[in-house]
Amino acid sequence: MTGKMTVVEGSYAVAHAVKICRPNVISAYPITPQTHIVEDLSQFMADGEIPNCEYINVESEFSAISTLVGASAVGARTYSSTTSQGLELMHEVLFNVSGMRLPIVMTVANRAVSAPINIWNDHQDSISQRDTGWMQLYAEDPQEAADMTAQAYRVAEDKDIMLPAMVCMDGFILSHVYEPVILLEQELTDEYLPGFEPEHILDPAKPKTFGAFADPSTYTEFRYLQQKGMDAALEKIENAADDFNKIFGRYYGGLIDTYEAEDAEILLFAMGSVVGTIKDVIDRARTEGVKVGLVKVRAFRPFPVEAIRKVVKDASVIVTLDKNISLGLNEGALCTEVKSCLYNTDINIPVIGFLLGHGGRDIPRRNIRMIIDKAKQVIRSGVTIESEYADLRGELI
């Protein structure tokens, strides 16, 4: 492990990482709990600490991401950050960014969506952007969120990929926590992350048309090629994590990471900061002889189908924990995706899903413990409930 630890806020760790990644255009609009990131970046700008960079104070998230469309097409390395209502407001542009193959990187400080309005953490905002063609990476702690920023640029700007990426970090829980972090070093990052040199740019010396009109005879192939980019990202996300480890000596998994998973009968699946709580509960349960382990999903898009198939093989039950819900299906996205990647294989393991931590509701250890107990019952007597809330307050209904 290189570098020295400093105690900083999660937002600062990310803003600092952005600065070290040498962006050329930053454009963002404030929204809780993302604000500290853009405030820190604004201060870096005011202090002249980000060379060759323009910071645009736009009038909305819609314009934040739209300005980056223009900037990225000119060949700039671009950055934005948002959450919740801001991310939903960007929705139309998100498709446009990925369709035009612009490798914008954006931090999402995950937050619940309105109504009712709620500023606390869950994953409904980014999960609702699942099909916009952006890669989605989820961080467990501030250090990972910061390091993931550099990894995201590496992958997004790869010429075989050229797709935008969201680095998702839990709002407040990670964005506002003060923790010891190793801030990205400029020299090492320059070694890790090459400059952005896209093949196609807007340049009067070599005029090109961006954003043409595709009719039914050509449209499908654009979509197909976007999927090819996602396919290529599967391996490159792993490589980006390995190379990061070589240079910085830090590793958090590639597409997924595992904890006590090898001999686990009960395999929990989760994303983001709740992973830390789950690890604690696993440690305790293991001392009591419960064979429980964890799969941390780092990449939700592209979805690591093969990696998951490989890791679950010997489990007796799979349990997904979701901070989001697809209304009308009563399942979280992780539950649906994990189930679907086991179908048409010879893997036949029951999957149950729990919805929890919505709108920032605390996830105490005893809830995870209760979930593990329910999983034990499934091993004994099969699935009775496929998906349910783990923290519903019955007295309010």
Binding site: V25, E54, V58, T67, A76, P204, G211
Partner: protein, 290 residues
């Protein structure tokens, strides 16, 4: 000579194509053009073809001004700005309705871009629906006349005044029927630092329903009846006005177009026309046209 390569899919006598030609002629090769969704965008870029010989980008319907901001910022950040002009060119809908927020943001920030609104007074690309720039009592597919209506119930949004109110150093109204004048104004706009705005009146043969050979003539009539005042506004002050000697009655303009035909046959049409004349009279007085 046409700067927009031939072979695009615009209607014969298309106003948007003429406008684009004049803008391109005025700004030259060292430019990047941003185009929102609309007739001009659709007709010029059927993949894999493109009529554009300058770098060109289309993102969405409502964000051309923001995309232009990003283009300009990136050129500066990368040290490639030089004399490159960043010019957004959009329809009335993409500019003063759905694109209003983005253009307001860009002008308030003082971004160094030029925005040209090609005002054909309706959403043509989707089949002639009304916009905030559709004139009073005009018939469109979403403001049809009927027993309870003479057509579009509201006068045009005064977009040039709104842009001037943002503190723009240069705002000018013009018309595709006066190519030399239009090119002079566009050239002037791109030469001035900061956000500059050109609002070009652009008669659309399909949407306004007149013969394809009459595009220029109709545009001139709008000016000669004082329904389209042409002026320049610098740092908030109106500095130059195109005078209209003996303005023609608005009927001359209205009766030449299918979209106003109902006013000449409907009961009460005379009064409806009188209200349009009142708009022209206000223009004459307000802008000092005579």
């Amino acid at each position: 000579m046409s700067r927009l390569a031939p072979g695009h899919r615009g209607c014969a006598g298309c106003c948007d194509a003429m406008a684009a030609n004049f803008v391109l002629e005025a700004i030259g090769d060292d430019a990047i053009v941003i185009n929102p969704t609309g007739c001009l965008e659709v007709m010029t870029t059927p993949y894999p073809e493109s009529a554009w010989e300058v770098p060109w980008i289309h993102s969405l319907f409502e964000n051309a001004a923001a995309v232009a901001t990003g283009v300009e910022a990136a050129l500066r950040a990368l040290g490639r700005k030089g004399d490159t002009k960043v010019v957004a060119m959009g329809g009335d809908g993409g500019t003063l309705d759905i694109g209003m927020q983005a253009i307001s943001g860009a002008f308030e920030r003082g971004d160094d871009i030029t925005y040209v609104c090609i005002d054909n007074e309706a959403y043509m690309n989707t089949g002639v629906q009304r916009s905030g720039a559709t004139p009073f009592n005009a018939s469109t597919t979403t403001s049809p006349p009927g027993s309870q209506s003479f057509g579009n119930p509201r006068p045009k949004k005064n977009m040039p005044a709104i842009m001037a109110a943002h503190g723009s150093p240069y705002v000018a109204t013009t018309s595709i029927s006066y190519p030399k004048e239009m090119m002079r104004k566009v050239k002037k706009a791109v030469g001035i630092e900061g956000p500059t705005y050109i609002h070009a009146h652009a008669p659309c043969t399909t949407g306004w329903r007149f013969d394809t050979s009459k595009t220029v003539e109709i545009g001139k009539l709008a000016v000669e009846t004082a329904l389209w005042p042409m002026y320049e506004q610098e740092e908030g002050e109106i500095t130059k006005v195109r005078k209209v000697k003996q303005p023609k009655p608005v009927e001359d303009y209205l009766k030449a177009q299918g979209r106003f035909k109902h006013l000449f046959t409907m009961e009460g049409g005379d009064e409806a026309i009188a209200k349009i004349q009142a708009i022209a009279d206000w223009n004459i007085k307000h802008y000092g046209l005579e």
